[in-house]
């Protein structure tokens, strides 16, 4: 018995030595196996067919009747599915009934969907044009809950072959549409590093003339000198004014977040002071949510000399002054791409982390309107790619939506 034990021990030692002697070979082998497994899972999907698992981004939202809509782009078309049981089951994928065109749907860029209270469904997206870094902001509307859609129109009214992208859209119950986007029309010199501008347009499909759709969206400049590759964040404050949070370019390529509320201030407020100097593309925007007391909740991401990682802060004076930024997530664990939303006094923050082999979705919440937060918890993981996570609401309940490339769309209640 002892001999057998010793033999087993010896075998273990020998194998251990072998493993120790050739760590690189085994390391490669393990990595190769993991890669094969991951790619096999992805490759099993026929992405010539319509399949949400093939999408790099998914946009989801609850309509006023409680249906969950999820929208994605594939092969120059937009598809959607509905669920009336909070994502447990979905209808078959249906194509948005418009002519095929390119749709920007990667990283910070993705289509947007919104609803009014009268079965109106609103879509906006960026359509890449024939020249690099050029696109138009597109819009389409359904007055019959998605059965038919209007022919898409171009929202930007400059008729220029230049950058128009990173669109955000809000629609209120009465169908007042606000679209905000990054716009390259003010660039005088394409070699300059002055960045983009933010433009906006509003419309109401019910009062507007569909026969002259271009007149619906009169464009207006919000600010100039913004980062060109980070998503915008928008919300409506208690005065009914649109507020925009974006990454601005200060001085010599210092990329900090700034905020402005339309009709309430002449100059934007700088809200982050992390001193991230980069003549490049951070590909990381922020999130904004304004609560019933007009408190502005903000999250952002920076890798500056003075601040690295995800930060949360709130402001009771529209961003003029902020609370001391709270660090969120593990910087050393690749915490990035935060999203945040307030609902009935609860502030939820979600973000992703990465271990080198596994994507993780993390969550932290405050039940006292942003004064203190629970400990961070991991919600789920992904193996072969992860989209940004978003929080959506349904009748006071909060859900997190996360697209996992090759695995599928994840939705769970917070």
């Amino acid at each position: 018995m002892l001999l057998v034990k010793n033999s087993k021990l010896l075998s273990c030692i020998v194998i251990g030595i072998v493993l120790n002697v050739i760590p690189d070979v085994f390391a490669d082998h393990h990595q190769h196996q993991a890669k094969v497994k991951t790619m096999a899972a992805v490759n099993e999907i026929d992405c010539q067919q319509v399949d949400i698992r093939c999408a790099k981004t998914v946009t989801s939202a609850f309509s006023p009747n409680g249906d969950l809509w999820r929208l994605w782009s594939q092969k120059e078309a937009l598809y959607y599915q509905l669920s009336n049981d909070n994502g447990a089951n979905f209808t078959a994928a249906k194509r948005i009934a418009i002519t095929d065109e390119k749709v920007s749907a990667r990283n910070e860029n993705r289509p947007k969907i919104a609803f009014d209270k009268a079965e109106g469904v609103y879509l906006s997206w960026a359509m890449p044009r024939e020249k690099k870094y050029t696109a138009d902001i597109r819009f389409s509307y359904s007055n019959d809950y998605g059965n038919t859609f209007t022919a898409p129109i171009t929202v930007n009214d400059d008729d220029l072959l230049t950058g128009h992208s990173f669109n955000e859209m809000l629609v209120d119950e009465q169908g007042n549409v606000s679209i905000v986007w990054l716009d390259g029309r003010l660039k005088k010199d394409k070699q300059s590093s002055q960045g983009s501008a933010i433009f906006m347009a509003t419309a109401n499909m019910k009062s507007g003339s569909l026969a002259q759709p271009q007149q619906l969206f009169v464009n207006k400049e919000v600010v100039n000198g913004t980062c060109v590759c980070c998503r915008l964040a928008i919300d409506i404050n208690n005065n009914g004014n649109l507020t925009v949070l974006w990454r601005h370019i200060y001085a010599d390529n210092i990329r900090e977040f700034a905020i402005t509320t339309l009709n309430e201030q002449k100059q934007a407020y700088q809200v982050s002071y992390d001193h991230w100097q980069i003549n490049g593309c951070p590909h990381q925007g922020g999130a904004l949510s304004i609560d019933d007391s007009n408190r502005y909740h903000l999250v952002w991401f920076n890798q500056g000399d003075k601040g690295k990682g995800i930060f949360y802060a709130h402001s009771d004076d529209a961003g003029k002054t902020l609370t001391i930024p709270l660090s969120v997530g593990e910087q050393s664990a690749q915490a990035a791409h935060p999203y945040m939303s307030e609902n009935n006094g609860i502030v939820d923050i979600v973000w992703t982390q990465f271990t080198g082999t596994e994507h993780q979705l993390w969550h932290q919440s405050s039940h006292d309107n942003g004064l203190s937060f629970t400990e961070a918890t991991m919600i789920t993981t992904a193996q072969s790619g992860a989209d940004r996570a978003f929080i959506i609401h349904k009748q006071g309940k909060r859900y997190v939506s996360w697209q996992r490339f090759g695995q599928g769309h994840w939705l769970s209640q917070l």
Binding site: L3, V4, N6, S7, K8, L10, S11, V14, I15, I17, V18, V21, I22, V25, A27, D28, Q31, K35, T38, M39, V42, K56, K75, R106, N107, K132, Y133, Q191, S193, V228, C229, N253, Q277, I278, N279, G280, C281, P282, H283, Q284, F301, Q303, S332, Q334, A336, F354, G356, T357, H359, S384, G385, A386, F405, G406
Partner: protein, 177 residues
């Protein structure tokens, strides 16, 4: 016991031989690469990353990561193009991070535009973008362009954002085969 011991030793010996054989193959492959053309349009993975490291061992070299969606990346590629006109062989590995439907076409078009197809260029693979990013640098969050200045001792100095022409000249033009 003796049977099990013998079995273990045989396994050890076989694995040892296999390791030597595998190492020889890697060495031969690398040697073969060293004498051949640059590595072009291949998928980035741990093996090819090790191979590039071995290729430039003891030398200064540069890894440049870029995306078709990144305007400042075009400026850095343009600088590399001008350096290439002064010195055809540059100790540079150019890695594209895009993995979308039309990425390959766009990537090749841009590299051809800057006449950089003859430099070593790799690209990330679908579903493994973050794995590749982490393999290169677990402290890099994906901002672009991203340049790694690797010195003679193999120590890597990462820089986010457009690197200046002066810095790129200093790093790349001093390298002579």
């Amino acid at each position: 016991m003796s049977y099990l011991l013998s079995k273990s030793l045989i396994v050890f010996a076989l694995l040892f031989i296999a390791q030597i054989s595998s190492a020889e193959q890697v060495a031969l492959k690398t040697q073969s690469r060293l004498e051949s053309e640059p590595i072009n349009s291949q998928v980035f993975d741990s093996a090819i990353y090790e191979e590039t490291k071995q290729r430039y061992q003891g030398k200064k070299w540069l890894t440049l990561l870029w995306s078709v969606d990144c305007p400042p990346c075009m400026k850095e590629l343009a600088i590399v193009q001008t350096l290439q006109q002064q010195q055809s062989e540059l100790a540079i590995v150019i890695i594209n991070v895009d993995t979308y439907e039309d990425s390959e076409q766009q990537r090749d078009k841009i590299l051809a535009h800057f006449n950089l197809m003859s430099q070593t260029n790799l690209h990330f693979s679908d579903g493994l973008e973050d794995h590749s990013r982490y393999l290169i640098d677990p402290h890099w969050f994906g901002e672009l362009p991203r340049s790694y200045f690797i010195d003679e001792a193999g120590i890597s100095h990462g820089k986010s954002g457009l690197a200046s022409k002066v810095l790129l000249e200093k790093w790349l033009l001093l390298v002579r085969e």
